[in-house]
Symmetry: D2
Subunit: 286 residues, 4 copies
């Protein structure tokens, strides 16, 4: 049980310059006994209202140095404060506020909402177990209008899809990776120094002047995983899900026109989905 | 990988009387090799477009006798047709069309959309493993305006929640149960004969003339599980998640009024959540 | 300016029996001067927080006898209390809680959320003008699987739609009518006595044993309007919008099957829309 | 009646460089007669399917030079082709794809979805009337963490809001302006040359090094209107709606802490709303 979508803004000021971190936190606990379920005995139950208060108090006291550090702080607090907690998990996602710029000059206290991929993290711990930290990005929608195809696939009497070597590849990415058992990482430093987001975009798109051919969604997913694993040594395992939107080249023959991939109709349902988890060992074997 | 949200309507006619079943199907496969991820070799890949075609062909040929039977048909088809499939999972949810009635008379071909709880099911199978079937109901929102409290819980310096013995209990239920390894069940018969939906409503509400006191969300979740397990012998394990909306009694003192639980404000975020999975063995022990 | 989505639950008790009315209220004002826009002078501005308080105080004091009466109470309060208010409009929609029944017996304090059409109303008044009241129902989704066609329409070189005399008609209805300048109406009585909802369903569906042929969405919209105007003398003008979802009979020839309108695919975008407003005068002329 | 959410992507290629314009189009017509409503006579009805075809054919033939030009092309086509059309309105909104950049280098065929404000336009025409064009931006969410207050407002017994001279101002902007009766405008040129979006951001935020004090949402709305009208001579009238989210400074006294505007809770419902339409004449008078 736990509390979902605890939303708040943590405002930090350095002189006249303001920094904002707005987050949604979900914290879930499992207790050492199930007596509240079986007998309605609440004596060891920490109310979800108290869970919310603790999250807000920690935000006030420690600030949010990084999403990951804050998730670890919350897990640590519950494990060290409450002996009746057998397991704790905290998920945090960030509201994508970006500092406004006017003619290239950053504004000291104005921000704009830019949801081009949402950063999130997760920390979890069992009593007597390690604290494990995950991070990721979701709702990242990308499109490439060529350098994508799908050929040589398995065919039988139910196959109606034609082979194509030039199609649009468009999809929403969910990427989540594990930092393994956590040492003293500076998570935002890893994110920015290793340019994780840039890695993902680059693996999807290929070089800016020519792109890179994708023979399938599966291969594109694998490329993203391989590049992140090779560029970010702290990442142990990476899961990528690509929910793709198919763009159908409209047949305009009955309207007397030849449509040379100029007008395409997005097909939102059904959509394909392709998921893969890749770890270090598997990586070196491959 | 697979195909999500394959939406279609299966229309069945008996004379002038029409029967509709509109569903959303998601079918996912895992293949015996990962060469399409690692090498971009698509030779054993069944396109998601073919997956969609197969689902639609099965619907046309077999109809949808019940959601569960249709999910099993799909899994069976993939396992028996494609030797490269190592695992198949199919999720189906129903669009809640109900037959219209005029002055109590059922209409032969008119329907109304009534989303008061969505039925769904899931079937999954590994090669050489059993076909396992789950069923459930989700998005079922219930409220009781009294006979609910929360007292005697654990308190410390972060506790600000007062004890209450008369509060509103309101939440959205997700219930999912397993029928175990499947024999020749008539699933719709189990659903209707055992009145599973009615069980859930009754366990939540208590007797119509007086209700039944709930000492916590956890206990209510447990009551639902216990009643379903006791009334429906085919159910092996049941998971219930209750996402509750808190209704705050508005303090109107500064407006010169005494609010005797007459005006309440729903608090949508954050919301509490409480989940539990209960199986037969645990049931008899309890 | 104003306050949107003021959400609250009004609980009314008669002995042990509870009655709930949960609503969302939006109240907007226009003031007699625009000095707050032009000069930033707030001296006559009623804060939206005060608007919210007033709505809640009225709910506490008067209860919600009907949505329409409550909307009128709010408008009256603003007009009589604040001379700087030039115009007030209040929109209210109801959260669709229905009393639970167990084996036909109504439960004294348990409710279920059944969103099969949302009731709403609107009241508006200019200073020195009449108080005008509207009511309606929205998000009402209906389907008939036959007795619908579309033939004899205008054709040119851009027409690819075939004529059809047997198609599925499925759509979401928005109906809003005016009660004109308001006298002392008992609005819930009008709603229930005249069976407005039943009128709409009946005009859409036709008789339960055979239905009624619809030659177009437009004609169905008109039928609904005509029936409501003829059955409910208090209604002055009625607007109906029908947003229809097209169900495409899937061509399965390339899969070796003949699909006799058994498998249909809903096309959610684009969707057709058809709106019409019909008043008494026009009605009698027609 | 008409067709809503006609979604398509128009792909334009210049050598290896690709340009995408994905849009949603809604086109509505009113015919010169209402016989299809009253008599079910469809002989002058242009099917919504034909409307869709025409939009797609125009996109194929003309491309989408700008949203506004494309909306005008559609209106012109219906007015000149069909004498039974009495009125036509076309609304278009853009799917916010932006070209990807790698280390500052633009990618030739890869794009990212960045919904930080959605551009839209509207064109409408009555037979024998002028073609009027509107343009706008919606879903633009902005926040400033200081330089905002609300003081000196009207107070009575229902006022509980304290005066504040330092609060967070956060809201979603909807801006729509009219270009009046349309001459041969190059609409994208007006948009980019006059930096309309930048105008709105600047009027909201003030100078980057210090901001500008906002005494009310109303005054901020007015500032945006005044700046756009003064910087963009082609704009005749501008409507701005600001739906604001209130950020509540959490009282942490009962948790033993002093919260100096460091932890704030967003209040999503109810939210205030403030709308104003300002034209040239009013502008000069002000």
């Amino acid at each position: 049980y736990g509390k979902n979508t605890i939303k708040f803004l943590r405002l930090h000021r350095e002189g006249k310059k303001h920094f904002v971190k707005e987050v949604e936190v979900c914290t879930h606990l499992r207790l050492t006994s199930a007596q509240e379920y079986l007998e309605g005995n609440n004596s060891i139950v920490i109310p979800t209202d108290t869970i919310k208060n603790i999250v807000l108090v920690l935000a006030k006291k420690n600030g949010i140095p990084s999403l990951e550090q804050f998730a670890m702080d919350i897990c640590n607090h519950f494990m060290t404060t409450f002996c009746q907690v057998a397991y704790v998990k905290t998920y945090i996602q960030e509201v994508p506020w970006q500092r406004l710029h006017e003619n290239g000059v950053p504004h000291i206290h104005s921000f704009i909402f830019v949801p081009d991929g949402i950063r999130f993290c997760e920390a979890e711990q069992c009593r007597n177990g390690p604290l494990v930290v995950f991070a990721g990005i979701k709702d990242l929608k990308l499109m490439k209008t060529t350098q994508s195809g799908f050929e040589g696939f398995y065919k039988n009497e139910h196959t109606t899809l034609p082979e194509r070597h030039d199609r649009i590849l468009c999809g929403e990415l969910f990427c989540k990776w594990s930092y393994g058992e956590c040492k003293d990482f500076d998570f935002d430093c890893i994110w920015y120094m290793n340019k994780i987001r840039e890695c993902i975009l680059e693996a999807f798109s290929g070089p800016p002047d020519c792109g890179q051919y994708s023979p399938s969604y599966q291969k594109t997913v694998n490329c993203i995983q391989m590049l992140v694993l090779s560029k970010v040594p702290q990442v142990q395992v990476i899961e990528v899900v690509l929910n793709n939107t198919f763009y159908n080249v409209l047949d305009m023959k009955n309207l007397g026109l030849t449509n040379d991939k100029e007008v395409l109709i997005p097909v939102e349902a059904p959509h394909g989905s392709c998921a893969c988890t890749l770890g270090r060992k598997q990586f070196f074997e491959a």
